[in-house]
Amino acid sequence: MQRFMERIDACRHQMKERLGMDPVEHCLCRIKSEESMREKCRRKGLPETCDSALKEIHDAIGIRVVCAFLDDVYTIRDNLAQWQDAKIVTEKDYIKNVKPNGYRSYHMILQADNGYYVEIQLRTISMDTWAALEHHLKYKKQYKGNQELIVSELKRCADELASTDLSMQTLRDLIFEENEAGS
């Protein structure tokens, strides 16, 4: 996991030099708790060892990369795709294929050359804000109010946030284009 974080940091550094902006807002990583891992190993009929956990279960290690701008999500994705030390096992673009509830993010599962799997989530700040709230709602005990209304309003907010992300990206492109043209 350390190496992955380093790779992402290197990418951020690169982009910062080039554009004068850090593409990543923040980067979180977590390792599943031992208890949770043991339980999953048991369920899958695997030996409860460190090795089997990290080599068989895909979401033992999770990294969430949050970017300020939409295009940066794809830049980081491309950067990781080109990395020699890891290969992409699967990837799902929930930005181009929005989930019915409004959820947007880019998911990847990479396998490092030592066999360990890492799950990566790439998203913008607004997607992250939205997901945090939606997660809270989903995992909280029985919301007592009008469930349908909340779900449809969350979808509306997701679509409005997405629209703003797109406008901001357009503005950034315009600003950088002007700067380049002027220089």
Binding site: V98, S163, S167, T170, D173
Partner: protein, 221 residues
Amino acid sequence: MKLLFAEDTQDLNHAVTTVLEYQGYDVTSVFDGQEALDALKKESYDVVVLDIMMPQVDGITVLKTMREHAILTPVLLLTAKSEVDDRVAGLDAGADDYLAKPFSMKELAARIRSMVRRSQYESETDLQKGNVTLHANDYSLSAANSVRLSHKEFELMRTLMMHEFMNTQYLLEQVWPDEPAQEDTVKLYLSYLKRKLASIGADIEIAAEGGRIFIREESDG
């Protein structure tokens, strides 16, 4: 569909009311301008038909009062006077259409239908092109995914979908009629829409060639 009909000639009023009710309208009939104004204060109507020459308050005054209060309901004026100046005065006062007396009931009914169609079209109809729908009720743009648009983005998208070839000047006049906006604003908003169309998986795009702006469907050559 609620209709307010103001006509002081009793027989004509009854005749027209009967015919319109038969056509399915929920008709409120009044016999002078003051009654018309009172009715408008109490309820909202989908269509208003006013005779010009009425006691108490005439039709033009009723119309002007409506427009001053930002009541945008379509209005058809009935006029016994068929001078051009009178017709011009009526239309400029805010009428959507006029009909000179004597008129045929068929024509009155058709003109009312035409007004209703126009006003519904503007406010309630979803527009569609390719796999893209522009929803009038919630300002959303959808294809494979959906996003919400701002007021001006919606107006711009609607204009683009309703016309064939346009230029920036035309779009400026249509979408920003009263505000100090420039060509740059139009270009920026077109950029917003281009990106949003791509993000929802649209099979149409906004094209600009030789000063002409139009919607191109992927199926076109």
